[in-house]
Each structure stands twice: as C-alpha cells, then as structure tokens.
C-alpha cells in the first residue's frame, strides 16, 4: 500500500505513513489526482539529514484523505509533477524555496516568498515573464496599492487595453508564521492567538482549523455547545465578508447605493460577532478545547432578531443590485474561469463553486457541528464575476439559515469564562504523529497539517489558506479582459496576501 487512508481531524502515527520510492511516489500522486482526487497539501519536513515530502490528497466524494511520503536529500532533484498535476505548481515552488529540492521540468520555478524584494542578493531573485512585439506594454502595480489593502505586486502584459497575462508576485507580507508556531510550540496561548493572525480576515476560520488539529492530537473532544458556537462564528464571518465584498464590488463599478447599503449591513454582522466575543473579527473566541464565550438565551434572541432583519435587507439590496443593467453589464461574462480550468489548477471555495466545481468542506469532510446536519453545496456554472458575486448572495442566505437552526440547538448553559475546566498546561500532544485539519472558511478550504516530534511538540506546521490555491485563478480570469476589469475580477475573488505569504 502506498497510501494511508484517514479522515479529516484523524491523528495518525508518522510510522504508519507509507514511504514509497521517489518515482513510485510521484506516479502515485499523478495517478490519484488524474483519477479525480484533489491535491490538498504537498510539503516538506526536515528529518535529521533528509527531507521527507508529504502529500495529502482528498477524495471529496467519500470524505477520505490519503497521505503518502517520500524522502530525499536537501539539494536533491526529482521530476516535477506540475506538468501532469498543474495544481502542484506552487507547492513545488515552495518546497524548492524551503529545502532546495528541485522539481526538474517545472515550468516556472520562481520564488514564492524570498528574493522577491531584491534585498538579499544571495536569494534566488524573482524574474518576470516578458512579452515582446509592437505596441506591447507592461503595467506594474504595487507592492503598495491604491486602496487600504495588503501589499503585493501585479504585472500586466498588455496590448492596448487587453491583458494577455497577469503575473502576481507575492511574498511581501512574509512574517515567518510557520516558523513562529514551531519555535513557540510550548506556549499554547501564544499559538492560539497566532492562528488568529494568519489572515486577519479569516480569524475564526484559521483559529478553528488550528484548534481542531490540536484537539485531535491531544485527544480532546469538545462539547456539542462549543461546536455550535464555533459554527455560528464561522458562518457570521462568512456573511460579514461576503457582504463586505458585495459592497466593495459595488464600489468598484461606481454603484454607490450598493457600496453603502452592503457596507452598513456588514457592520451589523461584525457587531453581532463583537456582542458574542468582544471583537468585531472574532478574536479571543476560540481556544483549544473550547470557546471563551458562550451565547446566552438573551443574546441568542438578539442574534435571531438581527439575522431576520438582515435576511430581508440583503434580499432587497441584492435584488436591486443583480437586476440593474449597468451592474450586469460589468459583471456578466467578465473574468471567466472555466470549470475544467478551475478543477485543474485546484481552485477551492466560493470561487470554485461559482465555476461549477462542487467542493465544500462543510459537506465533503464535515467536522464539528457540521457533522450533525446535512449541508447542501451551492454551485453556479458561468465562472464569471457575476457568478462569484451572486454566489456570495446565496451563501449569505444559506449561512443565515444555518445560524438560525443552530441557535435553536444551543443548549442553555451559563457563561464560561474560566477555561471550561481545561488547563492549557494539561494539553499533551501524541508524539510522532500527523493530523490534517480542514475547514471551509469563507474563502474556501483552510488546511493545516501538524506534525509532532518524539516529545509531543509541534515539529512542523503546514498552513494553507485558500488563497494559495486561488491566486492563480485570478491570473487566468483576467486574461483577454480589459485592464479596467481587473479591480472587479480581483474583488470577486478577494484573496488574502498574508494568508499566502505567511
């Protein structure tokens, strides 16, 4: 057997992970993906003088994950799998950057996070693609952008107004997050807070994913009410960002009513999150083994009232937005990512679902409260800005419904601010183990893989924000579009820089 079969959040001893030879491993990964499975993670871990490469592949139809590994010396080489499995392209670049292992035949072996600002000449420097010919020109934007957003560099190769290729150079935000997790692996509170800061717009998503992995490694099962509160927080985060994006998309096409109305609706949602945990982004809510705040009956009634109003107001605002000719003219048939392309490059989340790729961790690999009710995947087929905007609207409605149902399931318990009886010093992780934790954040699949050493400390954490999968989707979406359509294409994806740069 070349694979071990596990489930989301199932801890497995490292010794049980098969280790085929390099060629066999490579063929296995290609075979698995070509037969319809999805590459979730592909990363390295240093083990004495060797590097072990791990691949995690998901079979979304049957809620299974497959893990395999291979070993190679630092500075070694193997035949790249990217030509066969395009979704591996960034993972292989990352492994090359971190361990010097060269995937031979990789089409664009460029830096991911290092050497991008030209500071250290010893690092592999980033070189752009270029286009030549009459009247061809390039437009460079960033790292500092015009709006109040994170930094990154975009380079458009254009002919007139038409974009032939967009190259996205990221890495400016690199803070060494994975390294900080490992170096501070005995400071549990610090790790909880660090997980909240992987991407500040996905506080709940990343905090839950990390907490889930730690709980699995420590053998802690969380109470039902904790699962419900976490699910409610996750859905509130989804609603808030989707509303914010509908507001920003409206702003980008100068539809100011939408900009104001959706913006004001978002405020109501993040204020609801603040009512629960004291922070508009949900910081401080999740802890390993539980939550720091509970939802009382009084608060539950208030949330219900807010959501009922929000539901009506969102429908009213969305109906006006999506029936306005000037809006549709900009959204429809703009920035198309075809279904096959989205699948091939490994897109996830609402952006993938808007292109007709039905992936949703809440129903494919459910954990927490999602194990207790059926979650229906919503997909659209056109893959354009319209689809990526409209899917936000339908997902908002779906999330409102989920929260309303879950509030009714919430057992009445007194507020627990003391730590639920769980002393963080008592968290003992299983040694020499691996766990894969998947969560459907608002942007899509968040995947954390944790490996422990022989003393039960985190030895390696591999974090994947959905942005890591989806940035390339944006590159393909703007091809052959006018450069002026870039802002709405970008906003329809709304990807994270810090989640990618780590």
């Amino acid at each position: 057997m070349n694979w071990i079969e596990i489930k989301n959040l199932q801890t497995v001893p490292l010794s049980e992970i098969p280790r085929p030879g390099i060629d066999e491993f490579r063929n296995e990964v290609i075979q698995k993906v070509k037969s319809g499975n999805r590459l979730v993670q592909f990363f390295g871990n240093k083990n004495s003088d060797k590097i072990i490469l791990y691949a995690v592949i998901a079979d979304d139809d049957v809620a299974k994950l497959f893990v395999s590994s291979m070993e190679i010396f630092p500075g070694g080489a193997y035949n790249s799998i990217t030509p066969d499995v395009p979704s591996a392209h960034l993972f292989e670049r990352e492994i090359f950057e971190q361990y010097g292992i060269k995937p031979e035949g990789h089409p664009w072996l460029k830096p991911v996070r290092k050497g991008i600002a030209g500071i250290d000449k010893a690092e592999t420097q980033y070189e752009y693609f270029s286009m030549s010919g009459d009247e061809v020109h390039e437009v460079g934007v960033g790292p500092i952008h015009a709006g109040i957003i994170e930094p990154g560099h975009f380079r458009f190769s254009c002919h007139g107004e038409k974009v032939y290729h967009l190259e996205i150079k990221l890495g400016f935000q690199h803070r060494g997050v994975e390294d900080l997790f490992v170096r501070n692996n005995s400071r549990i509170v610090y790790l909880e807070k660090l997980a909240e800061s992987i991407a500040g717009d996905t506080v709940i998503g990343h905090a839950e994913t990390f907490a889930g992995a730690m709980e699995s490694l420590a053998g802690i099962s969380v109470p039902y009410q904790v699962k419900i509160i976490r699910a409610i927080a996750l859905e509130l985060e989804r609603i808030a960002i989707h509303l914010g994006d509908l507001s920003a998309l409206s702003g980008d096409i100068a539809y100011l009513t939408g900009n104001s109305v959706f913006g004001a609706l978002r405020t109501k949602v993040i204020n609801t999150t603040m009512a629960v945990c004291g922070n508009r982004f949900g910081r401080g809510l999740i802890k390993i083994g539980g939550v720091n705040f509970s939802i009382t009956q009084e608060l539950s009634d208030k949330i219900l009232e807010t959501l009922n109003k929000l539901d009506d107001e969102t429908v009213l605002a969305a109906e006006v937005l999506f029936s306005s000719a000037s809006v549709l003219e900009r959204f429809e048939k703009t920035g198309i990512v075809e279904t096959e392309v989205a699948k091939e490059i490994g897109m996830v989340g609402p952006a993938a679902r808007a292109s007709g790729v039905a992936i949703d961790i809440r129903s494919d690999h459910p954990s927490g409260a999602y194990e207790y009710f059926p979650h229906h995947k919503l997909t659209l087929s056109t893959g354009d800005v319209f689809a990526r905007a409209y899917i936000r609207f339908v997902e908002i409605q779906q999330s409102i419904k989920i929260i309303k149902e879950q509030l009714q399931n919430l057992p009445e318990t007194a507020a627990d601010k003391t730590g639920g009886g769980l002393n963080r010093k008592e968290i003992i992780l299983k040694p020499d183990s691996l766990v894969v934790s998947l969560t459907e954040g608002w942007r899509g699949e968040i995947a954390h893989v944790l490996l422990t050493d022989k003393s039960g400390k985190i030895e390696r954490i591999k974090i994947k924000d959905p942005s890591f999968n989806n940035w390339f989707g944006l590159t393909l979406a703007v091809r052959n579009e006018g450069i002026s359509d870039f802002p709405i294409c970008n906003k329809s994806f709304d990807l994270s820089y810090s989640g990618y740069d780590l």
Binding site: R113, I116, A117, I119, P143, I144, G147, I148, I149, E150, P151, G171, F172, Q173, H174, R175, G176, L180, R187, V189, Y190, E192, K193, L194, S197, I198, A199, G200, D201, V203, G244, T257, S260, V261, G263, A264, T267, N271, M274, A275, V276, G278, N279, R280, F281, R283, G284, N292, L316, A317, E319, V320, S323, S324, K417, G419, S496, Y497, S498, D501
Partner: protein, 252 residues
C-alpha cells in the same frame, strides 16, 4: 427603479452622529483598568499568560503598544486587570501607552494624545493620509477602511485616505514591518512632502506584536521614521482611530 427608491429609503441615515461621544457595547475590550488588590494570586502567572509579554510587574502595568486585547489576563487575574469598553487608546509618545493602576481613563483620554498648534493650523481642516500595510494581517487594514464607511464617515472631518503618497500629508502604517516591505514603507514615507505626520496603527506596527521575535521582520527602518501618533488595538476599532486623529489635530 421603485425597488431602488425603497432600498435607499430603507437604508436611511446610518452615520453615528457624535463620534466623540459614541459608546461601544460592553463586551468590547478597550481601555484596561488595573486594580492590583483584586488578585491575591501570583502576579507572575498573570504576566506569563500574556502571549505578547505586555504585562510588567512592580507595579503591574499593561503596555498597550504590545497588548492584543485578547482578555487572557482578565480571566486569569479574576478581573484585577479589566478591559472596559472605552475606546480612546492612543498616545503621542510610546511611553504613554503603558497603563498602570495610577491611570484614570478620564484623565488618560484627555491627555495621552497631545495636540500642537501648528498641526491644528496645518491639518485641522484637511488631512490626507496614505496607508501602507507593512505585513499587516488585514485586520487593521479592514478597520481603517471601515473608518470611511457610512457608519463612521471619517470624511466629514476632512480626513481621508489617498491613493498616492504624493497627495498625502502623512502616512498610516500597519503590520510588524516585514523584511520584504521595509524598503517600500521607507519609499512611501520619503515620497510624502514635508511637513508630514506618521501614525502607527495596531500592536504589530507599534511593537511587532505577535511577530516581534520573527526573523522575517525588519523594524530598523523605523529608525528613519519618526512616529507622531500611536494607536493601540488588535485591530483598533474605527472609533479608536478616528478619535485619536481628531485629538491629535486638536479638533473638539
């Protein structure tokens, strides 16, 4: 068309009328009040629980330049450090962010941010700022963005964010300043014509926050950038930012 009118009518007027007096809900973690007598246990445990090492002892003090307002110390000290919902969390100097039991919010909120006559004269009626995210996680960035939305409407005071440093009177930076963003931050700062102001927003920008000990950040560029206003929070609430700037400009 009728739906649009209905929508606009329903939307109504959303702005907070008096930004200076607006209160946040009780759950919000803002200005900390310290009462050492309330906790009889070992204060070292309280200091150790802080993920960003913001608590110092003898006397007990919380450094708002590091604090991420997670509330862990409030739980472990049984409320001896208590986060109130008060929003004024800024200071004109770094030391002013260190709060001990001697600090009273009424006084702090009036005195921590110093306003100078020349600043009021230059920027009191119009202040254009350029925002630079130097490895911010998007938390501070979203809250700064929210300052201009229909609820907070910072534009009413003549304070706006511009698209270019060339059009700006000052810079607002967020994030711990990654190695890769340090040169760009300095470029943006140098591109602004003097006289200019610098505002550091959020625990990361002020002290490096959770990332202070990372090998991937480079805060040495800040030696060349004089910070005029420190705004605490993780992220600071829009009311915190707007009030800080208004105080700094000497606007009542």
């Amino acid at each position: 068309m009728l739906d649009l009118i209905k929508l606009i009518k329903h939307h109504g007027y959303q702005a907070i009328n008096d930004i200076r007096k607006a209160k946040l809900m009780d759950t919000h973690r803002g200005f900390p009040v310290i009462d050492e007598a309330k906790y009889s246990g070992n204060w070292q445990d309280v200091a150790d629980c802080c993920p960003v090492k913001a608590i110092s002892l003898n006397p007990v003090a919380v450094d708002l330049g590091k604090c991420i307002f997670c509330g862990e110390c409030e739980k472990i000290s049984n409320g001896a450090i208590e986060f109130t919902n008060e929003v004024k969390l800024a200071s004109s100097n770094r030391e002013g962010l260190i709060i001990s039991s001697g600090n009273n919010y009424d006084i702090y909120s009036k005195e921590a941010v110093k306003s100078k006559k020349e600043i009021h004269k230059l920027f009191g009626r119009s202040l254009k700022l350029r925002q630079v995210s130097a490895a911010g996680c998007n938390g501070c960035e979203m809250e700064l963005g929210a300052c201009g939305n229909v609820n907070f409407d910072m534009g009413r005071f003549g304070i706006d964010f511009t698209a270019s440093p060339r059009h700006a009177d000052g810079i607002v930076f967020t994030g711990p300043v990654s190695k890769n963003m340090a040169p760009a931050l300095l470029d943006a700062y140098k591109s602004i014509a003097a006289p200019k102001i610098v505002i550091a927003v959020g625990a990361c920008a002020i002290s490096g926050g959770l990332f202070a000990e990372s090998g991937q950040i480079n805060r040495s560029v800040l030696d060349e950038i004089k910070i005029d206003l420190y705004v605490s929070g993780c992220p600071p609430h829009p009311l915190t930012f707007i009030n800080a700037v208004l105080d700094f400009l000497g606007i009542k």
